[in-house]
Amino acid sequence: MPLLHIKDISLSFGGLKAVDSVNIRVDEGEIVSLIGPNGAGKTTVFNILTGIYTVDSGEIFFEGNAIQNKIPQDIVEAGIARTFQNIRLFRNMRVIENVLIGSHIREPYNFFQAVFRTRRFRDSERENTLKAVRLLREVGLLARTHDYAANLPYGEQRKLEIARALATGAKLILLDEPAAGMNPQESEELLRFILSLRGRGYTILMIEHDMSVVMNISDRIYVLDYGKLISEGLPRQVANDPKVIEAYLGGVPDAAENNRA
């Protein structure tokens, strides 16, 4: 059974078929990439997956359970967390607090237990904070723990967003263009970090519009163009697929160059 199985989902915005009969399968422990030119519908697939949009048709299964059209909160509880293409951190909160928001659903105490500072509250807070600091150390943000998210440089903000997603305890992490806007060194380092996540048992589905970025780390790649899947398979197969080359050359000429420059 695949961890995530997207079956034939479609979504239109008015007359625009943003996602058109898309099928994606992600197995446990894989790094799968969803690539395609700008405007192909990649982010829309993530928005559907995480409950921001409801599908017009199709089904989504996570660990065998139907999750299409559930609300975002239920999706996280189910074990899927994401990052955003245009970073959405809680900017006026500290780095540590951003991660603690990630573990919000792992805090078992209720309002009254919080107000009366019961043992349950104290234990839960201590444990989650400890985990949050460890997580920050692992992603290399320990030195920024006390700082505010808004003060972090771009690359670290991306990392913090991933750390926040990891803190939810999700199994499947959705990354929307994690390397966007990074210089080659930063993106190299980030990709290594993503690889290490697989080593720790996470499954990754990531979006990228620059194919070359994901060639080396993806187990499999899906290519989306104008809302339709035009190719899928191993990185080498996809790279040599004439339809993919055509989509990239014909579509957005400079897309493949942008982020490597």
Binding site: I101, A114, L130, H146
Partner: protein, 339 residues
């Protein structure tokens, strides 16, 4: 490090001392023999501190601007008054019921947040404040209409009536404000407070972290209303007379002005804002008729030059892990370095 950072560190390192000094001064204030007029101003400041702390929960932390908090204040004041006068309940039981009643009204007002965002929500809260006043004016049989209610009895404790003369009212105001402050601090420093702030910062991202945003927004309204209700329940016996015009939109806008002046999203700003805008008209009585103009001007100037409020800076102090956790982190070599 800049001046506010240094000041913060200075005070933070000696916080127990300063805290004790402030408490001692406030407790000893009646002993200085100030006039009843001055003591009354102090009481009004503490009422408005509660009201701004209440507003702060919805507007400051959760980011939902409520212009109807005067309505909760009115509900608290009327509920307590009518229970004391008509049902003969003691001040204390009336206070509890009034707080609960205001909380329920906050729940009802919070429900539109299910559907409304931003300015739409704000307009509904504004309407709510006016509706409350209309009900108070027109429901004569219960509220005595525009005539208001007179001779509201003073609270009494162990048979002693708490008055201006024996400073009982002052101490009661102080205790209530302290309780409300501690309550707010406890709520804010928990997952509840973090959820509030996350909703303010980015509602979509908050949802993606599993925060039940609707539930937390309604909770913020309920807490805000309850605290405002407590302030109202105290206000009524303090002045001894209430009528619907004690609770015009003026009150809601005063609360908002105070909170913005001090700095929404901070507790220190609430006390400061309340004190500043209560004292200011008193020391410049000749401006009284222009108070609204001044408030408007303050709001505009603040928005333009210091939108975060006079005391609204983000603290530079390190995050507090607590001693136990700090030791544990240090032991495993992952104690985060300070800023």
């Amino acid at each position: 490090m800049d001046i506010t950072g240094r000041l913060e560190r200075f005070f933070s390192q000696r916080r127990i001392f300063f805290f004790a000094v402030v408490i001692a001064l406030l407790a000893a204030l009646p002993a200085f023999g100030f006039s009843r007029y001055i003591m009354r101003i102090c009481i009004v400041i503490s009422i408005y501190s509660m009201l701004t702390l209440a507003l702060n929960l919805v507007a400051g932390y959760t980011g939902q601007l409520s212009m109807g908090n005067g309505g909760f204040y009115a509900i608290g004041a009327y509920t307590a008054t009518l229970l004391m006068i008509n049902a003969g309940l003691s001040f204390w039981s009336s206070l509890v019921v009034a707080a609960a009643f205001a909380g329920i009204s906050g729940f009802l007002l919070g429900l539109p947040t299910l559907r409304l965002k931003g300015s739409y929500l704000t307009i509904v809260t504004l309407g709510f404040g006016e509706i409350v006043r209309m009900i108070l004016m027109n429901w004569d049989t219960v509220t005595n209409g525009t005539l208001g209610v007179r001779n509201i009895p003073l609270p009494s404790l162990f048979g002693v009536s708490l008055s201006f003369t024996n400073h009982g009212l002052y101490y009661l105001a102080l205790v209530l404000t302290a309780l409300v402050s501690v309550f707010c601090a406890l709520v804010i420093n928990s997952k509840v407070g973090r959820a509030f702030i996350a909703i303010r910062e980015d509602e979509i991202a908050a949802q993606m972290m599993g925060i039940k945003t609707v539930r937390y927004k309604v909770l913020a309204f309920v807490l805000s209303a309850t605290i405002s209700g407590i302030a109202g329940a105290f206000y009524a016996p303090m002045v001894g007379y209430i009528d619907p015009n004690s609770f015009t939109f003026d009150i809601s806008s005063q609360i908002i002005s105070m909170a913005i002046l001090g700095g929404l999203g901070t507790m220190r700003g609430m006390y400061f804002g309340a004190a500043a805008l209560i004292v200011f008209p008193e020391v410049s009585r000749f401006l009284m008729d222009y108070r609204f103009v001044i408030y408007g001007l303050i709001l505009v100037l603040m928005m333009r030059f210091r939108p975060q409020g006079l005391l609204g800076w983000r603290t530079r102090l390190p995050y507090r892990f607590g001693k136990v956790l700090e030791r544990q982190l240090a032991a495993e070599g992952s104690l985060p370095p300070l800023l």
